[in-house]
């Protein structure tokens, strides 16, 4: 237990390059490191999704250079079915774990949370540093599966046993590749557990004077709830992955049933159950999807008021929504297993809480709508992404309403309807949350402003584009188009290929527009105009210090908080908004 004594947690500013920028204990550096990791990851995931889309649109069209990258996977530059599945698996794993868990939660959380609560640093800086480097290691391990044996695994990001547990006989990539996948995810769990532990302790213990729980900004609330979910969810995925590794390497058969026969030979497994993996995975898996979206909730609820220039409608209600969603997220995991051979009675048992979870979500949406109502909206890129978030989250969430009913899921399960659903809520809504957060906090994180014009172009093209990409996937699903298909050869699928072609073109377009963002990001990061301390007239603590903040965040000052986080458009105040730290007296509306 050689953790630093947290009660003397402020550590002297490091001098050497290594300690300053690489193995730094400073939560701000770690936050930026997480963000850069997410950027690299999302870039990779994006390229993979391009390759996938091209293949789905034009099954046997040669893709230049692909043969060079994957000699075995793409003879003559034409993608083989197994390569397609491998790319799909990597796309999903990278996006879900290394983008959607790192960017909104670990990156922004690390950077902003301690400042928003008025602390000099996280409670356990060493754990914090470990958390990042462990995650980074996990990423390397995952990527290395591109270069070993016969490539990355093809079992999908859910890695259902026995496909994932019997080893190389199951197909290309199921040898070393799948093992690396399991190892990588196991390591990742450790990293996130350390992170969650840190977040919770920091939020509870290191709040500056006057920052009562009631005065915490909603973003901090979101990260707090998220880390509680993470602390309990990753603790289940970790052993699950270890058991999977044991099944693959040590000959145990947790997930391997008796009498598996692959090419005429009986495999040595006995007595296990494939359903056990699904239970363990989804017990983590569903909370994970809320780990992905809740920070988005928080970011929107913090950013939207700053640009609507009014309080969020129902601050406490929003907290209630997030907490109850957190609770419910543990009662619903079986909705991924309705037709999995699970006890059909359990299906009903899982369906009801799943439907109930839509109520807090609906309330959250209504709170945002009510905030937009009659607002003096300032249309910046950040606020546009907030509005976009509301729109796409509604779209994506409502399709969950279908899937939540077993009687409909028997038709829709494993079709593109599901793909559409989770891309809307995850690939777009959560991403919009990230974008909003990026444009909002960029000045603080890098001390420079992002370019608004480029930002707005990026928003409009992305907003239109993603609807073109993922809305048609609902229609594919209605027509019964099965997901995870490397080619559409069934008679009833062939007529759908034109629609796939359209989606592909839209996807290429959307992907391309992301480069506007990448360019804007890097250009502004080094060339952008210097940022003032509080460019958005926002009220939370991070805006009461310099951009970027000094090493100890507040230059030795001990801030005292006097107000709640969202005092915008206050009558009779000096300048229509009241910083949390400003001592001026105002009647709380």
């Amino acid at each position: 237990m050689s953790t630093p004594d947290p009660t003397i947690h402020q550590h002297a500013a490091p001098t050497g390059f290594i300690r300053k920028h690489v193995f730094s204990l400073d939560h701000k550096v770690i936050g930026r490191q997480y963000y850069d990791l997410a950027l690299v990851a999302v870039f990779l995931g994006l390229l993979l999704s391009w390759l996938m889309r091209i293949h789905l649109g034009w099954m046997n069209a040669p893709i230049p250079l692909l043969g060079k990258l994957f000699p075995s996977g793409a003879p003559g530059n034409v993608m083989t079915p197994d390569l397609y599945l491998s790319l799909m698996t990597m796309h999903a794993t990278i996006m879900v774990f290394f983008v959607l868990t790192t960017a909104p939660f670990a990156a922004f959380g690390n950077y902003v949370l301690p400042i928003q609560v008025g602390a000099e640093d996280m409670a356990f800086p060493h754990f914090n540093m470990m958390s990042f480097w462990v995650t980074f290691l996990a990423f390397l391990v995952l990527i290395s599966s591109f270069f070993v044996g016969d490539g990355p695994p093809l079992a999908g990001w859910t890695s259902y046993a026995p496909l994932s547990s019997v080893g190389a006989v199951a197909g290309p990539g199921q040898g070393t590749g799948q093992t690396l996948w399991a190892v990588s995810i196991a390591i990742f769990c450790i990293g996130q557990l350390l992170g969650s532990l840190n977040f919770i302790t920091t939020t509870l213990d290191l709040r500056t004077k006057g920052m009562s729980l009631a005065r915490l900004p909603l973003s901090t609330w979101a990260w707090f709830v998220t880390s509680v979910i993470g602390l309990l969810a990753f603790a289940v995925l970790l052993p699950a992955c270890v058991l999977l590794i044991l099944d693959r390497t040590a000959g145990t058969s947790f997930f391997g049933p008796t009498g598996l026969v692959v090419n005429d030979t009986v495999l040595p497994y006995s007595g296990g159950s494939p359903l056990l993996w699904q239970h363990l995975f989804w017990f983590f898996g569903h909370p994970e999807v809320y780990i992905a979206i809740l920070p988005g909730f928080g970011i929107i609820s913090t950013v939207l008021p700053a640009f609507a220039r009014k309080r969020l409608l129902g601050h406490q209600v929003m907290i209630g929504c997030m907490v109850s969603i957190g609770f419910l997220s543990y009662m619903v995991w079986g909705h991924h297993m309705f037709v999995s051979g699970m006890n059909p009675f359990s299906a009903l048992m899982f369906s009801v809480p799943t439907l109930i979870i839509t109520i807090p979500a609906t309330i959250a949406v209504l709170m945002w709508l009510g905030t937009v109502y009659g607002a003096r909206m300032r249309y910046t890129t950040a606020s546009l992404f907030c509005l976009g978030f509301i729109s796409v989250f509604i779209t994506g969430g409502l399709s969950g309403f279908f899937l939540a009913q077993p009687s409909l899921d028997t038709y829709l399960h494993a079709t593109y309807f599901v793909v559409a659903h989770f891309h809307f809520v995850m690939a777009i809504a959560a991403m919009f949350g990230i974008f909003a957060g990026t444009h909002f906090w960029f000045p603080k994180m890098y001390g420079r402003m992002m370019n608004e014009t480029l930002g707005k172009w990026h928003f409009w093209l992305t907003f239109l584009g993603v609807y073109c990409v993922f809305m048609p996937m609902h229609y594919l699903g209605l027509a019964g188009n099965v997901r995870r298909y490397a080619a559409f050869t069934d008679n009833y699928l062939v007529p759908l290929i034109p629609l796939h072609k359209f989606i592909t073109m839209a996807a290429l377009f959307v992907g391309a527009t992301q480069f506007i963002f990448f360019f804007n990001f890097f250009w502004s990061r080094f060339r952008g105009p210097k940022a003032p301390d509080n460019p958005w007239d926002a009220t939370t603590l991070e805006w009461s210090t310099t951009s970027p903040p000094p090493f100890d965040n507040f230059g030795g000052r001990h801030l005292v908080v006097h107000h709640g986080p969202e005092l915008y458009g206050v009558e009779g105040a000096a300048n229509d908004y009241v910083m949390q730290v400003s001592p001026e007296q105002v009647d709380a509306r």
Binding site: P257, T258, S273, H279, G341, N343
Partner: protein
């Protein structure tokens, strides 16, 4: 650097007594085991005893009794809740028993 828990604690004497209590529980568990009940009868009893044992250790050895009730509840509720939720696996395990491909 001290907190409630540091200030007053049961003290070694009561620790010793509690230890004897724990031994007793273990003895009862073993005794029950050799009555050769059916597993589904035995397990609940063993678990109840184990929980009793654990709660003694948590409350006194880990001093949770002297912490803020808030802490007790946060930890207790979240853990028990998660465990109960995991119990949802079981209707399935039972079914496994019946659907198992016996001849395989």
């Amino acid at each position: 650097m001290d907190t409630k828990s540091v200030n007053h604690t049961p003290g070694m004497k009561s620790y010793g007594l509690l230890l004897l209590g724990l031994f007793a529980i273990v003895a009862i568990e073993v005794a029950l085991t050799y009555q050769h009940f059916a597993p589904d009868v035995l397990l609940p009893w063993l678990l109840i005893l184990a929980v009793l044992e654990a709660s003694i250790a948590i409350t006194y050895y880990m001093h949770l009794r002297y912490e803020q009730p808030k802490l007790v509840w946060s930890l207790f509720v979240s853990f028990v809740f998660v465990m109960i939720m995991m119990g949802h696996m079981f209707p399935d395990a039972m079914r496994l028993l019946h659907l198992r491909v016996i001849h395989w």
